[in-house]
């Protein structure tokens, strides 16, 4: 449908029909929803493609609590309305198009909000990479039905997938307010807050998730990380150790234990934890990177060298290992190899950070 068609659509009605349509809207505003529905349906009989009537009807159904019917009605119009939204965004960027935008807005005063209430535009906008628009749309629509847990859960998950953690957290806050036993929502709320580096809220949400779901290694690790960064390293260690007992085959809890022990300055214990982590999960480069760093700290350059080489075997793109390796070579007096390792570190880091920086930007929105 062209933009012109959209504008003309509002002008399809005869003067009598327009009066009838406006009368139906007035009934709706006066809370006579049944009367309004009858009015819209009369218009739609003559003009089944007259989108505003369909959307006002959807709104009336929504307000009557007939949400499935409202969604069905809206779903029939989504494509058109999405087009309106997209056109509006395009036109809004061009000053000379302001009259057109004004006319569009005039033609669709409420239906956009109703449409937005389905959450569909947010999801579509996210898939299009229109992130700011998606967030703005969600914030406009969220107050319309804050207690629709299904809606907010769906949108929250989509925001999480897009690494837009602030709106994701906002969505999951609404989910847990509406459905306080939703373990998954508490989990998502906790992990979203972790990414946002909001330690206290993440701890509160993850504790609730554990209360509802029981202890799971993943939840304990996330909760431990919140405590580690808060910082309450002692509590973090306790949680990581519980996670290690629940997942005895996993190297990750031991890796986190090692990191927390390093924060406490207990290098020998950290070394043991990293060794354990690596033995359980040899493909994980991080424990080997930190192990190599500890070995370098205590001056065991030969051992550090072999450990860091193992880290690079586990993940040839683990640039951190090259950084340590460069320092090892420097200490061994192998200057050329140090420079080469440093160069590899810089190249890989640039490459990886290029990707990461985009993610970081997304994460911080």
């Amino acid at each position: 449908m062209s933009s012109l068609a959209l504008v003309l659509l509002a002008q399809l009605l005869t003067s009598e029909e327009r009066t009838a349509f406006e009368g139906a809207i007035l009934l709706q505003l006066a809370s006579d929803l049944d009367g309004a529905l009858r009015g819209y349906e009369g218009i739609l009989e003559a003009h089944p493609d007259f989108l505003p009537a369909r959307l006002y009807r959807a709104e009336a159904l929504w307000l009557l609590g007939k949400r499935d019917q409202a969604r069905e009605e809206l779903s029939r119009a989504q494509g058109d309305l999405l087009l309106v939204r997209i056109l509006e965004r395009i036109f809004a960027r061009e000053a000379e198009s302001e009259p057109l935008v004004a006319r569009l807005s005039e033609a669709y005063p409420l239906e956009q909000n109703r449409f937005l209430a389905t959450g569909t535009p947010v999801l579509v906008l996210l898939s299009m990479g229109e992130l700011d628009e998606a967030i703005a749309d969600y914030r406009r629509v969220a107050p319309v039905d804050p207690e629709d847990a299904t809606l907010h859960r769906q949108i929250g998950a989509a925001f999480s997938s897009a690494k837009l953690f602030l709106p994701a957290v906002e969505a999951f806050e609404r989910v847990v307010a509406a459905a306080p036993d939703d373990v998954s929502a508490w989990r998502q709320l906790g992990s979203g807050n972790l990414v946002l580096q909001r330690w206290e809220p993440s701890i509160a949400a993850l504790e609730k998730a554990i209360e509802l779901a029981g202890e799971e290694a993943g939840l304990l690790l996330a909760l431990g990380y919140g405590h580690e960064r808060k910082p309450d390293t002692e509590r973090a260690l306790e949680l990581y150790r519980r996670a290690a007992r629940l997942a005895p085959e996993s190297g990750r809890p031991h890796y986190r234990i090692g990191r927390a022990l390093m924060t406490q300055g207990k290098l020998e214990e950290a070394e043991r934890a990293f060794t354990k982590s690596s033995s359980l999960d040899p493909k994980m480069p991080e424990p080997l990177g930190f192990l190599g760093d500890i070995q370098l700290k205590r001056g065991d350059v030969d051992l550090a060298l072999s450990t860091l080489e193992r880290a690079l075997q586990a993940d040839p793109e683990y640039f951190e290992a090259y950084y340590h390796l460069a320092r090892v070579y420097r200490r061994m007096g192998r200057a050329d190899e140090a420079v080469k390792a440093l160069s590899a570190y810089e190249d890989l880091k640039r490459k990886k950070r290029g990707v990461l920086s985009q993610e970081d930007v997304l994460a911080l929105r």
Partner: protein, 558 residues
């Protein structure tokens, strides 16, 4: 601390560190201006510093406080509120009483100030003053009669970029103080970034990564109160960084002053001085391979302030940098040969600093127990930090770490009178009240400075040295003093500029207390920048000495 606990500490030989803010009634009245309270742009984040220097050569430390400005004033906006804020000079009248002598001294720079650095640029025996600005820096030559003359243009220091900290040091061993100036970001007030920037999900004024890092400046002192910009030939200008703090010290075991810079999110710089006799100033960039450029697996921190000091008594200066909140302050142990190891967590300095955003930092023996303690000045940059559960706060208290003597530090902040939360930035250390111990002036944003009087540091014995160079630069900057007393050896470098945007008391302090309190300074060896080495023996503690290169030692106050 209750009287019983105090008695217990004293009976155990431990001297509690205690600071009292005595700014009220001191006559120091500068409430700094630094942009808006809302902090709309990065330029409004960074704050100011202070310099403690005896500008009138009357034997006590006077106080120079830098002032900032506002966007509106910088843009020359009509109707911008009030007159331009200016820096202030306060003359020390004794007993922590000061008189504002700014106008009489011919000072009062109205630029958007950042740092201040005192140093005898012309070797005439009195301290000159450099003010670093957002915009051109200003050099004031001390006329020797309590007044200054601005000589920035003639000195060749006009440069319109965003300057942060500065340090003097004789980089080419010609007997004159050269200069390193850190610059922060390429920034135009007229064109602030329009990006949306976020911190913990909250929109904030954009930090450095929304800007381009700036290259830094190295100036060679020609000896005639003018400087040659040798940034390019020295190798420094090829490496931009979001520069903040800078320190000059001997970082690779040779006899040339090296430069270390704390950069915000761009990796710290370690420039080893490779200048040869008669040659131009040349640096070798060893930042990454030294181990002091990054932490962990090559991660950049948000470096703010920096200081060097031999915390573990091995004779080599170590490095300490302050960083952003949710990251730790970093202690780099000097392993020799220009190699460093991050020992922040092993030394117990890491974990406790995680919630803080640090700026100035200084190694000093505040309790005179013969080892270097550590001061950290804090304050966040985002007012938004108080608006949700951010895990940190906007105003923050400062931190004091007492050296435990075993490679670790104890956090003694709470009991040391540093609990008040402010927006701290720069800090200058010195014996303001001439009672022997080191007091601290903290430059706070949008507030009076804190004048932190050290109460009790002088309960243990001490000694200090004012160095006067002859072949070396007049201030003796870069001289290393190695003191032996009570079976211990301590090494200090005489430095100019330090921490963050600030300049300390030029005298070199040693505590003589701790286990086996020394009754006598057995031996003092001075390694002058000229290469001369002088040894003095059997000095009485509890007083200051003036050591003149080639002319012996005398009591500071005969």
């Amino acid at each position: 601390m209750g009287p019983f606990a105090l008695l217990l500490l004293l009976s155990s030989g431990e001297v509690p560190l205690r600071f009292v803010d005595v700014v009220e009634g001191s006559g120091v009245a500068l409430v700094t201006t630094f942009g808006t309270e809302e902090k709309r742009f990065i330029i409004e984040y960074t704050g100011t510093g202070a310099a403690l220097t005896d500008y009138d050569s009357d034997g006590d430390l006077d106080l120079y406080l830098v002032n900032g400005s506002t966007i509106e004033l910088s843009l020359g906006a009509p109707g911008a509120p009030g007159a331009a804020p200016t820096d202030r000079l306060y003359r020390n009248e004794g007993g922590f009483r000061f008189t504002d002598v700014t106008e009489a001294a011919g000072l009062g720079d109205p630029g958007w100030g950042g740092g201040s650095l005192a140093g005898d640029v012309d070797n005439d025996g009195d301290p000159d003053l450099l003010v670093t600005n957002f915009g051109s820096n200003v050099l004031y030559r001390n006329n020797g009669d309590g007044t200054f003359t601005e000589v920035s243009a003639a000195a060749g220091l006009l440069d319109g970029r965003w300057h942060s900290s500065a340090a003097f040091g004789d980089l080419d061993s010609d007997g004159f103080l050269d200069l390193y100036v850190t610059n922060h970001a390429v920034y135009r007030v007229e064109e602030p970034p329009r990006l949306p920037c976020f911190w913990k999900g909250i929109q904030i004024a954009c930090g450095p990564l929304a800007h381009r890092p700036e290259t830094h400046l190295v100036y060679r002192n020609r000896g005639d109160v003018s400087f040659a910009d040798v940034s390019e030939s020295s190798g420094v200008s090829s490496k931009p960084g979001f520069g903040f703090g800078v320190v000059m010290d001997y970082l690779d075991d040779d006899d040339r002053l090296d430069v270390y810079v704390a950069n915000d999110l761009s990796g710290n710089f370690l420039f080893l001085n490779r200048t040869t006799a008669g040659g131009g100033i040349v640096f070798q960039d060893v930042s990454a391979l030294s181990g002091a450029g990054f932490v962990e697996g090559g991660r950049e921190q948000a470096g703010m302030g920096v200081d060097s000091g031999d915390f573990n008594g091995d004779g080599r200066p170590d490095l300490h940098t302050t960083n952003f909140s949710d990251d730790y302050n970093t202690l780099y142990r000097n392993d020799g040969s220009g190699l460093f190891t991050d020992v922040s967590f092993e030394s117990r300095l890491g974990e406790v600093t995680l919630p803080y955003l640090g700026w100035a930092t200084a190694f000093a023996d505040f309790d005179f127990d013969s080892d270097l303690d550590l001061l950290v000045v804090n304050g966040h940059i985002y007012p938004e930090a108080d608006r949700f559960q951010s895990g940190t706060g906007y105003a923050q208290s400062n931190l004091l770490f007492e050296n435990a003597g075993d490679g670790t530090f104890r956090d003694v902040s709470a009991r040391s009178g540093l609990g008040e939360k402010r927006l701290g930035r720069g800090a200058a250390l010195g014996d303001v009240d001439e009672d022997g111990d080191l007091d601290v002036v903290v430059a706070n944003m949008h507030a009076l400075p804190a004048l932190l009087r050290n109460d009790g540091g002088n309960r243990r014995s001490w000694v200090r040295f004012l160095l006067v160079g002859r072949e070396s630069n007049r201030d003796g900057v870069g001289a290393r003093v190695v003191l032996e007393a009570g079976g211990r050896s301590q090494t200090r470098t005489s430095k100019s500029g330090g921490g963050y945007l600030s300049s300390h008391d030029p005298r070199v302090y040693f505590g003589l207390g701790g286990p086996g309190e020394a009754r006598m300074v057995e031996r003092v060896r001075v390694l002058w920048p000229s290469g001369a080495v002088e040894v003095y023996e059997s000095l009485e503690p509890g007083k200051g000495y003036v050591i003149k290169e080639g002319a012996g030692v005398a009591a500071e106050r005969p």
